[in-house]
């Protein structure tokens, strides 16, 4: 049983590593087949101030004078040893640039995820316990309304209201706790709406199930029903939504960071795109793939722990009703 579980975990981890590798190769090839060779054109541009010696050094380092496959092999070998190259624009190692930018972005993303989960559970709780006509109607309308507002609009409104007008947080210190929280709210609201919609639909479905009726016949109160019976089966599919949402949060942080003036990966991407800094861009793409793959891997491995029906040792004839997401689904969904 544990042996089979070990095989399951090993296979999933292997798939995850493969996805990251393929992403690296794919990004590399896409960049190399792009017409116009932006690297050399940038290097040759006198405005960028590269001396001939610099150019030769860079060409030699990246084997730019050799066939693409040789370049790829060199680059891949360096990637596997943790060397992501050197920024063309700043001459700083890419790992260092990322290391500087990442904490701020992770902080923002984690805050946003926390805000999203909290809001979603509050909304879901409201749909189940508020008076049906008035309260529920309003709460049920919230997710779809929130979903239709882009996070940068929410961000701008929040900055105007709480930053400029009320002065609750300092717009000059974007890394302060309150500023991070407000940015997290802006980023988290659309995601919370997604989670809430799935959660509410599941709750509405689960509460009509026979086992809930039977639990009621055992004298459980509505709140006990919610806590003991409804929440867990309804929340399980949300794990998949959250795993996908992390990808969206990373993408969204790019815009939110610029609205709130934070120095994170988003800002790094912005400057690298305008500066045609390809080593940095490639590293960011691979980083995004790693985060996405790791989060989905975590979700995949969590499901069997949370739901006995999905354990590899479970009887194969067992009816499995919870969605069993696999890594390949997640990757397909991302593409």
């Amino acid at each position: 049983m544990s042996g089979r579980h070990g095989v399951f975990v090993a296979r999933r981890v292997g798939q995850a590593a493969l996805v990251v590798l393929l992403t690296y190769v794919f990004t590399f090839l896409v960049i190399s087949v792009l017409p116009g060779d932006p690297v050399t054109s940038m290097l040759r541009d006198p405005e960028n101030g590269f001396s001939d010696q610099d150019v030769q050094q860079i060409v030699a380092y990246y084997h730019l004078d050799q066939p693409v496959l040789v370049q790829l092999a060199t680059s891949l070998g360096r990637f596997l040893t943790g060397d992501l190259g050197v920024s063309l624009r700043t001459q700083v190692p890419v790992t260092q640039l990322l290391g500087d930018a990442l904490p701020s972005t992770l902080e923002l993303t984690a805050t946003a995820l926390g805000v999203a989960l909290l809001l979603a559970v509050v909304v879901a709780y409201g749909t189940q316990f508020l008076p049906p006509r008035l309260g529920q109607g309003i709460v049920r309308a919230v997710p779809s309304a929130a979903l239709s507002v882009p996070s940068f609009v929410i961000g701008i409104v929040l900055v105007r209201t709480f930053g400029f007008q009320l002065g609750w947080f300092s717009i000059t210190d974007p890394d302060s706790l309150t500023a991070t929280l407000v940015a997290g709210v802006a980023l988290g609201i659309p995601v919370s709406a997604q989670i809430a919609e799935v959660l509410v639909a599941n709750l509405d479905h689960e509460r009509t199930q026979d086992y809930v009726t039977l639990a009621r016949s055992r004298g459980l109160t509505s709140r006990e029903l919610f806590r003991r019976h409804l929440l867990k089966p309804s929340a399980l599919p949300v794990l998949t939504v959250v795993a996908i949402a992390v990808g969206e949060l990373l993408g969204g942080s790019l815009i939110t960071e610029s609205v709130f003036g934070r120095q994170g990966v988003g800002t790094l991407v912005e400057t690298s795109v305008t500066g045609q800094d390809l080593p940095v861009l490639q590293a960011v793409v691979v980083l995004a793939a790693i985060v996405f793959v790791v989060v989905n891997l975590a979700a995949d491995l969590l499901y069997p722990l949370l739901d006995a029906r999905l354990r590899p040792s479970a009887r194969s004839a067992a009816p499995v009703t919870a969605p069993a997401r696999t890594l390949s689904d997640a990757v397909a969904g991302a593409a």
Binding site: D210, Y211, R218, G219, E224, H229, K232, L306, R315
Partner: protein, 562 residues
Amino acid sequence: MSETEDLSADVPATPELLRVDGLTVGYGREPVVHDVGLTVSRGETVALIGESGSGKSTVARAVLRLLPRGAWAQGSVTLAGHDALGLSEAQFRRLRGRVVGFVPQDPASSLNPVRTIGAQADEAARLLDLPDRAARRARVLEVLARVGLDDPERVHASYPHQLSGGMLQRVLIALAVLPGPDLLVADEPTSALDVTVQQRILDLLAELQDSLGLGILLITHDLALAAERADRLAVLRDGRVQESGPSRQVLLEPASEYARTLGADVPSLHPDRFDALRARRSLAPGAAPQIELRGVDRTFRTGDTDVVAASGVSFAVARGTTHALVGESGSGKTTAVRILLGLETPDAGEVLVGGEALGRRSRAQVRALRRHLQLVYQNPFTSLDPTWSVERLVREPLDRFRVGTKAERAEAVARALDDVGLSRDLLGRRPVALSGGQRQRVAIARALVLRPDVIVLDEPTTALDVTVQAGIVRVLLELQARHGLTYLFVSHDLGLVRQVADTVSVLERGRVVEHGHVADVFTDPQHPYTRALLAAVPRAAQHPTTAQHPVPAQHPTLEPVP
């Protein structure tokens, strides 16, 4: 059981546990239950009988105050002296479990799939005044053992999907009796189970009733079962009680027209009912078998275990006759049928249709053969595409095989509808606008339209009410007489098999344990499994005056333990 007496101390001295008077229940504006009255006393079983849509479950839900949102109930329900409809939800909640317990229909969906049995049983145990978790656990294990579960510790730690249907139903009964209720409401407690398991569950309920002095309100569609198990019956139709009284009286001397019809349509009560219709067939004696399976083996591999679905299965069906395959779930009936239809390849053995071996044919030949081998599936509610019209559904096989011209196809469709007794006005309807019986007739028409030689009927009436079933059986037998059809009839209903089949094979764990003429096998069964199956058929019907609950035949293979 002294603890039960202690718990029932708050119940008044009158033996009447439940009194329902003038109960009217509705969803939205229209009432679906009208002016229903019944009583259940301590130690008594009262059965509420009715077909689907009769409102029997609605009555049960109203008594339990488990009606869905938007439903309303008027009248009076007195539960152990309490005005059940007048209490607030908080007040009524104190009666739940302690005074009235509920045993639901479908054991597979009635337990939370992501929580252990123990966690859910603990909720029931908390209704008792036990000092701590350990004491509750001990009590739960005691009751799990009491309902006949061999390994209570394992069951306690299991998730629902790890137990068989029979074990789950025992768990549900344990959960219901655990807080020591006075009344149990059992809503079709066994209709999702195999017949021998059904018998043992009903025996368990009867035994618990005797030792705990429970009153039981039994909701069922099965008149024979109700007559065997209940002291009194109430027959419900369209939300109105047609008749009520002692079981024997309702069964033997029904006063209402509906109770009479219902009794006449229960197969196990009338084994000879369709004999006249069947005698209209002209059977050539000694005709060659139309279909034959010879020594068919098939093993499925799931995980690390091999499941033998067919092992040396052989049977032959003479042209124009009906052969029945009987056995419980997992006995290999479906595998045998799938192999016959070419949907599954046997590991060994031969399938012969019209005297020719199927295995030696090319793909095209098998396809041509399939034209003459049609299937009517069990559930007409899922086997018809809901977006298609009746006309398109019935015509599709003709289109598939490119039979005739457009006009000829239309004519064939119309004739097939005539054959199954459906009006041509229904051609434009979609399945959703048809009743269950009409849908199954459409499915039969669809099988019939290619003029096949053989029709495989896989539990063709299981999803239907008994009065509707009788109509379908009549149509099938008329068609057999008219077109000389050969039927392979798969069923778990031995009463129905007795009525329609000529020969029978009894399957157990992929093996044919007994076969022969239906009359011989049923009157003089040789194999213990056949005897167990036959013993499990509710028999109050045949001998209502001597109706007893027979000691269950313990047959170790009947209830698979994972």
